[in-house]
Symmetry: C2
Amino acid sequence: MTDLINNRRTIRKYSNKEVSEELICSLLEASGRASTNGNMQLYSVVITRDDEKKKLLAPAHFSQPAFVGAPLSLTFCADFHRFNLWCKECNADPGYDNELSFLTAMTDTLLVAQTFAMLAESKGLGICYLGTAMYNAKQISEVLELPHNVVPVTTITVGYPAEAPEQQDRINPSAWIHKETYRDFTPTDIHSIYDYKDEMEINKKFVKENEKETLAQVFTDVRYNKANNEYFSKQYMDLLGEKGFLFATELKNNK
Amino acid sequence: MTDLINNRRTIRKYSNKEVSEELICSLLEASGRASTNGNMQLYSVVITRDDEKKKLLAPAHFSQPAFVGAPLSLTFCADFHRFNLWCKECNADPGYDNELSFLTAMTDTLLVAQTFAMLAESKGLGICYLGTAMYNAKQISEVLELPHNVVPVTTITVGYPAEAPEQQDRINPSAWIHKETYRDFTPTDIHSIYDYKDEMEINKKFVKENEKETLAQVFTDVRYNKANNEYFSKQYMDLLGEKGFLFATELKNNK
């Protein structure tokens, strides 16, 4: 399994080869064996294959080729709805309309998502995570008809690979593995961790295309800029409020 | 890999067998191959082995045996600190002091954590996730000396198993796998999904010990009760604020 993960690549182009529903469901079923807080299983996944649904979801994913070209996508959702219904059926009063409960459900959800991703890759499938699931979670919620207490956390597109991309770079693991306490970084440390990125031909190209001086500026000014981050933060927090997860935030507002 | 995950158990009792630093670091290094938003790698992990550090952390984990008895634990943190330092070194102005950025980093972090968990189990190690990392994140931050923009998300305890517990139950996967749209539940559905839990001997024992009528009440009144969820929500949101991640929330407060 270590070799598999050491050699993995995100796949954004998929072949026409059919991905059977049986395979997807068996991999999802196995993924449900991932650790879950108190065995509450605070997640749901919605499978999208239908062309009409895909068309409705595409704008939320900025119509990126990985989404549009995938035979199917899976939207993994933090879900307290089902658990709350169970509580109510059992004369129990659920108190899960708060941030911790959302983050707990989000954790459960991502452990299942990543377990699925690894299992899918072990079967020769290619996958791509879409961060847009969080950016445009409200639109996605509407298309997938998600009830109260259910919020999209991530989407994974799935298909057999039609590309063999080069493996992406990673920073030296010593930069993120700390022993006993967090070892802070000097400017020299930061340069020794990251400078190689600016030297990569593909990144030089990005910098030039975007008329920037450094790769970091491509991140801060273009790809993940402050205005968008703040806009999508507000959108997602508003959705969490609508879906019933903002206890502490509301508390502050009403002070 | 499907068999491995289908047969997995969370392990809370560990043998004295040494877990080499080399093994842990090689599994972490491989875990860094997990998908990451924009290849930003917004995470850090702090390894705890030292007895003194363990004593300081134990109260934050309610001194649970899985933590106290583990040869080591790993605290996985959402980390924008290192990335922000890089931006500043490269004449770029980071705009990551907001909720979306935190949730993005949390996603990166959990994908690495779960990849590590699966790789560790594939090597015969046993692991246990501790939700307490989020409950008492502030104390943990202090012990691990986490800087601004770094917040604990989860802790995994690790060791060779000294127990062979029965596998935990899971609800029927058809309850959480939806096709095209979320299929809501009737009361009958809820009973057919969950009733088996109340019938399990171990759960009957929990219900009796806690002097409750139903298993759901053990969750809502004891294990994950409203007052604690709200308390820990506020604690965690306060920490996110201190660590610089609450743009939209502050915006609402200043309205």
